[in-house]
Amino acid sequence: MAWKILIADFMKDPEMDPFYDQLTEIDSEIHFTVSRSIEDFSVHMESTELVSLVVVAKDFTPEVETAYRQYQQHIGCLPDFLALICDEPNPRFMVSVFEFGVENIMRKDQCVEKLRTLAEKVKTSLADTSTPEHHAIKLALGMKTSNQTLIAEAGNAMRTIAGEDYRAAYVAGRALEAQGVYGEAELAYRKACSINKMFRAGSSTLAETLMVTGKIDEAVLLLEKLEKSNPRDIARKSTLIAAYTEQGQPEKAAKALAEAMAINPEHPKLIEAKVNVMLAEGKLAEAFNLIPKMENAGILFASRLNDMGIQLSKSGKAKHALALYNKAHKIVRTDLKYKLSMNCALACRRLGDFEMALKYLARCKKEFGRSYEKLDQLIIATKGAIEMKAKNSSEAS
């Protein structure tokens, strides 16, 4: 199989062109593809052949952040498969890319040889079926194609060696998260961070998972510690804002929000932070207006909306709950959509619309990639309810 190394050159640096010309000759099994716009980049990210990312940049621009963040969402944090081409990055830039696991920084004039080394590393790591990289790519493929078998296989393989390598523990955590087993995912992320204390991407993910599993105080402590080494990471600050809000510390949340706004008021994660604060303050209408502007919301936000929907549904406001779930479905990460489809189905059942519930359940199955016990039970029960309803109505007529 041929693998793709994507070079994101949003600066469209003309000095890089002669180097790009030389990349085709590096390896027949590794394709280097240059992407010069964020739109084109997002299309490449969906490719199942994509394994490695190299960014060409002078500073930590929003495009650079988006590139690394999208890679992290689609594939994970694989330090050996990530690189930056920059002649002289300043310390703030270094710390910002380190959050995504980027340690390999290369000079332009040396990039062809360094990329040759990267290609060799990618090839050997993926050919070896025992490496965390091999399973991370398998897991990414499973997540992209909603293939739960691939997800489970990658997760199981990495769980057995999670104690031996922080990358294996991290991949295991991602697989468990994709299967919705957050408690176990938390343990795997803890392992990754205890093996490698400098694994920033792991620590940030652990903090989010702690929030999902309800360990808000511990999440706050961890996030505050991470803030000390990089107070400029807005995505993480947004999690901290959510954590303070959850903890009932509105002053701290507002202070953190103001700090984040001062760094970059346009940052997409700030919308999530604002929505979190609004939801906590009970400003539901305002929050709902902002939700459609969000994108790729993670487990934390998805679970918050989930909880809110359940409360609405249980308090007899199933219609509101359904509207909320549908909004959330549009903005959450692909691997989390199935959960919202399931909740939509449950809300429809509460509303007595079993036909619609069945449609949501079919969507849930498609998004998850296969059926599972709870889904099967619900499909049977919904079909039974439809039959019962039909029977009742025919009897009535």
């Binding site: 330090p79 930056l84 920059c86 002649d87 002289e88 990055p89 300043n90 310390p91 703030r92 270094m94 710390v95 890319v97 380190f98 980027v102 340690e103 390999n104 920084i105 290369m106 000079r107 040396q110 040889e113 360094k114 040759r116 080394t117 060696i161 104690g163 031996e164 390598d165 922080y166 990358r167 093996i195 490698n196 204390k197 400098m198 694994f199 000390k228 080494s229 990089n230």
Partner: protein, 470 residues
């Protein structure tokens, strides 16, 4: 086809002249091109020297006190091994008899009369470069032999701190090296270590590796090891003297390092850095020079650094653009541009002091675990004293390593401990280094060694040839 890097192999040249003064200019010119030169004044001495030294070239006068260059040629031609030795002849008198004797034999070249220095060098270099590294040369590249090689050397895991794994060994390790550590005791599983640093004390070298990057089944025994409480964890030892002409970069770095509990003292000039070092050397955990130019201030800085008391002199990290600078225990080079991870790992390693580690190890009573470091390499060639292999990181000249290859199994013990004689970066690759090694054992002659290698090579090639289809 692998190219042997320029300057990796030192050529040996034997000069055979009738009068000693004839050799003076040639010796000087050959030294200029880094050749090892041995001068002989008789055919008898020359033959003795050639059989001992297996030179890559002999430069001989056509007429000698006890014979001639023709006699030399005939004697070498009759020798199974030495017949490959190229001979360059200087025909001094240019008489008919002299020329007749020469013309009947296949010499590598001639000088008619005493050559001009330039002409001499051109011809000599032409002959030396016509053979890859030596006339006695086994090329693994052009054969079908498997060139994969295992390079190893021994060490002893002596302990760990919160951040670093400590291994005492006889060799410095490079930050770019990924090494498999295989414990001698099979009850312990292997580990993979990388991003190594080195420190020195009276007992030798301690290699340190960031714990976070230790991977493999053996991670379990590493995690169970008692953690040493060295002074590196204390605040006064986590102060960094940082020289950087850019204030903005220094401010940003100080902000980042604060999160790692490292305090940064900025010096905008090298003179200020020197003054800070002079004032309180023992309050500094480490020095980081973002750059070191080749100017007067750097000479002054070096003077101050070298004269500061050895017991309190902090280790120094220098940012460099060069690929060829190699770190030592006291001065570490960090190649620019660097990532935050490698920088923090290097700083953490520099905050540790070998004496401190040794004291804590002794206090802990930890017995240690013997290990073999292993790394894959590529065998390029073998010659009369050793050969050349390639690895993905530089080794330190003077260190001793073990080489494992199927061919070497036919010569047990010969490659168990080879000496790293010279290293040069592979000319066509950024991250590959060519290592010149010497495998000659004390008391063994080069001819005997080469004979053994040639025999083993024939046997190895035969055993690896595919059987003919029936």
């Amino acid at each position: 086809m692998t190219t042997i890097a320029k300057g990796l192999i030192q050529h040996t040249v034997v000069i055979l002249v009738a009068k000693k003064e004839r050799a003076i200019t040639m010796e000087a010119l050959l030294s200029k091109i880094s050749c090892r030169v041995i001068t002989t004044l008789s055919l008898y001495d020359a033959l003795k020297t050639i059989s001992q030294e297996m030179p890559h070239l002999v430069i001989a006068d056509s007429e000698l006190p006890d014979g001639s260059a023709a006699n030399l040629y005939d004697r070498l031609e009759a020798h199974q091994i030495l017949k490959k030795t190229p001979i360059l002849v200087t025909i001094v008198k240019k008489t008919k008899e002299e020329l007749q004797a020469i013309s009947k034999r296949k010499f590598a070249g001639f000088f008619l009369g005493i050559p001009e220095p330039k002409q001499f060098l051109v011809k000599t270099l032409e002959i030396l470069s016509s053979t890859k590294s030596s006339p006695f040369y086994l090329d693994l590249d052009s054969s079908e032999a498997d060139a994969r090689l295992n390079v190893s050397f021994s060490g002893r895991v002596i302990g760990r701190t919160e951040d670093q794994l400590m291994i005492r060994s006889g060799a410095d390790v490079d930050a770019n090296a990924s090494l498999v550590c295989v414990p001698s005791d099979v009850k312990y599983s292997p580990i993979l270590v990388k991003s190594g640093n080195n420190m020195k004390d009276d007992e030798g070298i301690i290699n340190t590796f960031p714990i976070g990057k230790v991977a493999g089944k053996g991670r379990i025994w590493v995690d169970k090891m008692p953690s040493l409480k060295t002074a590196a964890a204390t605040t006064q030892k986590r102060t960094l003297l940082y020289y950087d002409p850019s204030i903005e970069r220094a401010v940003q770095l100080a902000e980042v390092l604060k999160g790692y509990e490292i305090e940064l003292n900025h010096a905008q000039t090298l003179n200020r850095a020197a003054a800070a070092l002079k004032a309180k050397p023992d309050s500094l955990g480490c020095i980081f020079l973002y750059e070191l130019m080749n100017d007067a201030s750097s000479i002054e800085w070096k003077k101050v650094y070298d004269t500061s008391p050895q017991g309190t002199r902090p280790p120094m990290i220098i940012g460099t653009n060069s690929l060829n600078n190699r770190s030592s225990a006291e001065t570490k080079y960090i190649q620019k541009p660097f990532g935050l991870g490698p920088l923090i790992e290097t700083l953490e390693a520099c905050f540790e002091r070998a004496e401190d580690v040794t004291t804590e190890v002794n206090k802990s009573g930890y017995a240690g675990i013997d290990v073999q470091y292993q790394a894959p390499g590529k065998l390029v060639c073998l010659d009369e004293i050793g050969g050349v292999f390639q690895v993905k990181f530089p080794l330190v000249p003077g260190s001793k390593v073990k080489l494992s290859h199927a061919l070497f199994k036919l010569m047990p013990n010969d490659f168990d401990e080879v000496l790293v004689a010279n290293i040069v970066k592979e000319p066509n690759m950024v991250d590959t280094w060519q290592i010149r090694f010497e495998a000659l054992k004390a008391g063994t002659s080069k001819t005997k060694h080469w004979e053994k290698i040639s025999k083993a090579w024939d046997q190895y090639i035969k055993s690896n040839q595919a059987p003919e289809a029936s």
